[in-house]
Subunit: 340 residues, 2 copies
Amino acid sequence: MTVSPTTQPQTNHSLPPADAKQRVSQFMQTLQDEICQGLEALDGKGKFQEDSWQREEGGGGRSRVLADGDFLEQGGVNFSEVWGKSLPPSILKQRPEAEGHEFYATGTSMVLHPKNPYIPTVHLNYRYFEAGPVWWFGGGADLTPYYPFAEDAAHFHHTLKNACDQTHGEFYPVFKRWCDEYFYLKHRQEMRGIGGIFFDYQDGNAPLYRGPDPNGPAAQYSNQLAPIEPLGWEDLFSFAQRCGRAFLPAYSPIVEKRRNTEYGDRQRQFQLYRRGRYVEFNLVYDRGTIFGLQTNGRTESILMSLPPLVRWQYCYSPEAGSPEAELTEKFLVPQDWVNS
Amino acid sequence: MTVSPTTQPQTNHSLPPADAKQRVSQFMQTLQDEICQGLEALDGKGKFQEDSWQREEGGGGRSRVLADGDFLEQGGVNFSEVWGKSLPPSILKQRPEAEGHEFYATGTSMVLHPKNPYIPTVHLNYRYFEAGPVWWFGGGADLTPYYPFAEDAAHFHHTLKNACDQTHGEFYPVFKRWCDEYFYLKHRQEMRGIGGIFFDYQDGNAPLYRGPDPNGPAAQYSNQLAPIEPLGWEDLFSFAQRCGRAFLPAYSPIVEKRRNTEYGDRQRQFQLYRRGRYVEFNLVYDRGTIFGLQTNGRTESILMSLPPLVRWQYCYSPEAGSPEAELTEKFLVPQDWVNS
């Protein structure tokens, strides 16, 4: 394997401002507020219920759940802010410079499970870490449709791409590929949905891709890039804010377009079946879920991502040529949604 | 920590007979047949459908599923027999003598999800491994009730204890504690059900407990035992057969007793909710499931254990003093069911 010059992390010369934690924490709470307000307005019926919680080792959060709304069967939006003596080994492996330093982490995450099978399930998570000399932003948003509408996938991707492009034109191409790589169910040989963007360990330096597969499309694309002018903390914070605020414009029009489409038992049963894949991904592969469960996170907040009702069926296979078959064959494999 | 003399595995002087694999494989298939026949007779309506499959790297199996029966909402009984170049690292860690040797493994596993919430879900798995100079039996059976009936738990445990006692009087006390330890959801601080027996790496030598927690009740009980006369391969094979054949007598009377109990939406909803814990255990903790999914096992056979319909509900808590609360408080913690 040839390692291009950009695969070695550059030294990060941009330190966070003194009030970095406070500013990001404030933004993450504002993002939670804006998303909850936007979703309540969009739903028109359901209201979020809030639980505040404290973490024994330091920090806490506020979990908000909307159940049995008009379009939302269940939606959860979490804010959390935690600190402690040291980051877990899995993260230190990626960021050895953080070893021996206290850490701070804050973020907002969300999963929405709509009633109507023509409206996709959607997930969002943006987070910020500091530990001694190192800091980084991570996160993303991805869409999981039950029925195949290319225009919905294109709209979602276009909106996120526009948010990315304002910071750097290579963010979307790398983070879109990283998203395809991350939300993948190996045992099903399927993507969880039609993707979106996913990034982690972003501190303004190359390489953009910092994931586990050095030979995948995301790494290959990232490695062939010309050297990128390092970005500063403010650039990355702006980027995270733009991405977070791109969520409602990315998702709301899809809800409006599909919420009145009539559906029957066939569509509902397929939705419940496909929700099983969401459970499988979150419990078998999702780093945040597994890490949270193994480290005494607040279980109810972590598992808020699981659907309210789910079905498994042995050896189910959709009828050839059906919309259900089209979903698996054409939508749950990587696609260039912004240029198709 | 003081390590008692029996915690060091003794040398195994009993080699398997030349036709060991064939005999165990034959038994595992017979066990699958007997259980399927017994369950069809008990159900009275549903019939098992069989899929045979081959494993590319060597071996294969036959999966049998009964869906929409009279008492069974879904039941799966798998037989498999596989071989290959080397055991996975997770097993080699426990059995380093198997390193560098080809392996053979055969087993039968089963999960039943009844319709009536008063009938417990039940799981069984018996398996046999050979790799060069080493061989061992593993397995067990455990019960997951939705409603608290002490007499059902006692009957299930008594039946398994009787099967164990015919081989050795200390098997049940150790394997019962090991079962309580294994089927535990750390993130819920709950047992999956009321347990049963669980054992692994049994080759007739001390110590009986070979699990991961050197300080748990199973290890403590196992370590304080007086030295046990080593058992031979035939003894262990007889033990596995007795355990396997104890399943129908352990479970059928519970089905007969509860199948006509009327239930309403409250009981059904609680059953669907508790089934979520089954999914959480199987996907987050169960070694067989995770290992199977990560090593290209047959996904549909592995995930046959998941319930046909499942519900999650944020921050659900049963009413104080209700049967639902009694289940969690008194049944999902270790209990001495045979002496209570």
